[in-house]
Structure formats: C-alpha cells, structure tokens
Symmetry: C2
Subunit: 305 residues, 2 copies
Amino acid sequence: MEKFEVNILGCGSALPTMRHQMTSQVVNLREKLFMIDCAEGTQLQMRRQNLSFSRLGHVFISHLHGDHCLGLTGMISTFSLLGRVAPLHIYSPGDDLERLLRPHLDFFCHGISFDVIFHSFSPCQSEVIYDDRTVSVRTLPLRHRMPCCGFLFSEKPTLPHIRREMIDFLKIPYYAINAIKSGAGWTDVDGREWKHEELVFAADAPRRYAYCSDTMPVDGNIPLLEDVDVLFHEATFSNDAASRAKETGHSTAAQAAEMAKKCHAKRLIIGHFSSRYPDETVLKDEASLIFPHVVLAKEGLKIEV
Amino acid sequence: MEKFEVNILGCGSALPTMRHQMTSQVVNLREKLFMIDCAEGTQLQMRRQNLSFSRLGHVFISHLHGDHCLGLTGMISTFSLLGRVAPLHIYSPGDDLERLLRPHLDFFCHGISFDVIFHSFSPCQSEVIYDDRTVSVRTLPLRHRMPCCGFLFSEKPTLPHIRREMIDFLKIPYYAINAIKSGAGWTDVDGREWKHEELVFAADAPRRYAYCSDTMPVDGNIPLLEDVDVLFHEATFSNDAASRAKETGHSTAAQAAEMAKKCHAKRLIIGHFSSRYPDETVLKDEASLIFPHVVLAKEGLKIEV
C-alpha cells in the first residue's frame, strides 16, 4: 500500500497547556506533505516529528482563529532562512488571511527566497480546491463562530498490482508491465491471449481522510463522508458541557461519535481538547459508547489511513 | 535580598532547533515580571517555567526580527481568553511594531478584555523608557542589521535593614520602624538620642542586569555597563566564524567576553546560539579564556542577579 498517513502535530484547543500544542496536522501522501492548520509552534513540531520542511508544498487553513494559523509567519520565515525555492501554497476561507499575513511576510521575511501563493475558497459550499495525480482535496463547510471549513483528502485510484508469477511464467518483458497495469492484456509466444484480469490483482481501494474542526456537528457533510476511512472530528468538550459546546461553536465527544456513526466511518480520531480535561479518557469513553473505533489524538501520533 | 532574577525562556537564534527555543527572557523583580523579546512559543515557555501571566505588565522588544517578536499575538490572545484586565505595555524601537501588530490584534483578539499599549523608543540613543519605585529600564543602542536596542535594568536603592536587636533593646514600637528605615533616629525613654546609623545595617547595593542582543560589540555602551552585576551578551558564533558574525551583525563568544571584561561585569551569560553548534561548550571555553565568570544560557535557567 502506498503511504497515506496523518501526523498529529497539535490537538489542544486555544489555551495552550503543558499537555497539548495548538492545532496542526500533516498528511503524508506518498511522501508529499500537506499541512492542515498551522498554530504557533508548528514549525518546531515538524522538527520534533521528523517531517521534512521541503516536502511540504500546500497548507490548508480551516479558519482564522489564532490557534489555527499564527504559526505561518514564523514557519515561512524559517523556510526562507533555509533557502527554500519551491513555492508554498496556502488555502483559506475568504481573503482575510492574505490581507493580514502579506504585510508581515513583507516585513519579517524580507528578501524571501520563494513565492507564497494564497488561494481563497468560499466557506459556504463544498468544492475541490486541490487536485493532482494522487489526491484531491475538497472543502467541507463547517459551523463555527466564524467562516470555517474542514477538508476531505481523497486518494486517486491506484493501478492494479501485477501478478509476479504470471510475469515470470509468461516471460513478459519489463517494458510491457506499465501497459498491463494500465489495462492491457498480453499475447504470449504461442499466440495465446491473456486477459488483463488474469495478469493483475485488483488495485487497493482508494482511501479518504476527513478533517472536521472547529465545528458543531454538520449533517450536510454526511453524504460526502459516507464510508470515509478515517474521520478526524473535534471533540472539545464532553457531554456535561454540551451547552458550552453549542455556545462556542464546538462539539462534544458524543456528537463526534454520532457523526462517525452516521457517516459509517471506519475509524474516528477525536481532538481539539479543551484545557479543562487533564485526562481525555472521559472523552474517549463517551465517544466509544456510540462508535466503537475511537482514537484519542496526541502529539506525535501517526495514523495510517 | 529582594528577588531579582532572570529566567531564560529561549536562547537559540533564528532557526529553531530541537535544543533551543527562540529568544525570550523574563526578569522577575520582586514578583513583578518584565519580558524581554517574545519569540514564537514564548507563552508556552512561560507555562513550562511557572511564570505567572498576570504578573507580566511590560514587554521590551529589542528589534523586529521574527525570532524576537512573533510570539506576541498568540500570547496576547491567550491573555484575553483568560480574561486579563490589566493593560499590557509593549516597548519597541520605532513605530513598525504597532503598525504591524495592531491589525492582527484587532482581528485575532477581537473583543480583547484589556488594553495593549505600544511605546516606541529611538534606537539611536540611550534613554530611560520605564521607571517605577523599584526599577528603571534604560535602552542600550546596539549594532545589528536593523534598528536594535538592548536593555539595562537598574534596581532602585533599597532601604537599609533594621538592626533587630536594637529595636528589641530600645523597645521601639512597630509604627516607628518605617521612619527609621527611611533615615530617622530615635529618642529613648531616658531622652538619649540614637542616630539612624546605630539602628540599621547598610542597604544592599542596588543591582543591575543588562541584555545585549542581537548585536556586534558596541563599545559606546561600556560607560553605562560599568560594574554591571550580570551581563547577557549574545554569542551567536565562535571565533572561527568571526567574519560570518560581522556579516550578519552578530558577535562571537570571544567578543562577548571582551565586552564583559571591558565593563568589569561581575558575571556574563552568553546566548542566542547559532544552530550550527550541537554543543555550546566550545563557545563557553572560548569566552572563558578572556573572562572567567561565564554561564551558558539554557531554557529554564534562572539566574539570581
């Protein structure tokens, strides 16, 4: 299986604690890195988790609360000091981020060695904002105190796996293998035709990772998230603070689990923990009553999608 | 002795490493906290080092490189989330900091619960920029790639210590003690006059702490720093990178030690270490050849002035 993993860099909420960094994640898809949110301290978390600065090309910002984006200027400044040349693309809802950040980049990253390219998207409807040969990224409109979107990373279908013993048996030359992977059959020296299906195993099913934070539960995204492999959903509070969650535009662990259940997600990661919980087991226990496959986010955690 | 201590929150230079945070220090003078520089991650370092957010009233920014001030917005945002009401005063060279930060504070700290008051000072001449009953803070013009000042913290003279045995012997009432500390004598029940000097021990000598970073050596500050108790001087490089130090507006460990020697400082702390040194012993050894009382800065280090 090709690499598709999620690295948790920070999973606390706005108030920094000794236990959690503020929000950031890095999705590693076949050694290309995609960042989701970039709180203060994110560049150091990348170092700690051995994530290569130079493999990061795209940063997706869910919303413009400080605990999701105040690490950008420092990180970009460091990239510039290191002589980066590849452009860095930053995606965020609306135009505010560029308006706010550009004067800081001009001042603090004077003489910057690479382009920082801002892309804005509408927080009101789901759209594909990034697409390449291996992955597409789609926004998931969320409900928070300000415009906010989650992100759905969908791996592109991969080619089927070649049946090594058939290649050996038929003495198929190396140069023909890509064509077979892509759908061709093979005619052997005796003129017998072998069908494509006889020469390959089925491709791995394409995988999907969804990030939903910060938000109250949003049922409108369920059709997009049906059968998602891994759902990250914020669970800032437990059920006994349900009214606080509603007031502040957040979810409880039970609500995150309900969402995973409704989407038929394969696994649920919960995070964005309020500083009021010295031990998040209470959140995991609450979610597990509703949905069985719950993982607590944690700095340094790496999840294979 | 009244408390006068320097806490090192970060002593690395611009490139963050696993070993060092970027620059920040907190001076604790009789439980009032004064911050010098505020790099990304400073608020978390305060938490780690058990420094109370609410005791911090004044932040002194040496210059506007990102590794000395990019932690301000996040820290202020956290103070606001915690419901701070006391104003926060920020001192920096020129007007750029307010121009850059104000739009971020308006956006990211919307509805902020306290006043952030910016004070600008000239980086060209030394001046007293803060003064209260216990301490004055004076700028020290430095030579860097941009306008930059160090800071000299001078404790105000304290009152002399009362001689407890004389108080007991003469049965001097509690209400009279402050007057005696402030210079008065005492007439006993037999009409004998006791001089002030007979009733007290001399006050502790007022102490001074100087912070010089980032900078090449600046001889112009030597008269102000004569006999300083503790001198923090940057030592980004060792002597073998002296030309790199000059190019980038920094000092070597030897230059920092020369400065301490010329000022007749009592102790020297060196810091702002380049990421090229996996072990700073080389810098300490270099400085110690010139000046005997050298301490390597380190995150978490607390120095009694």
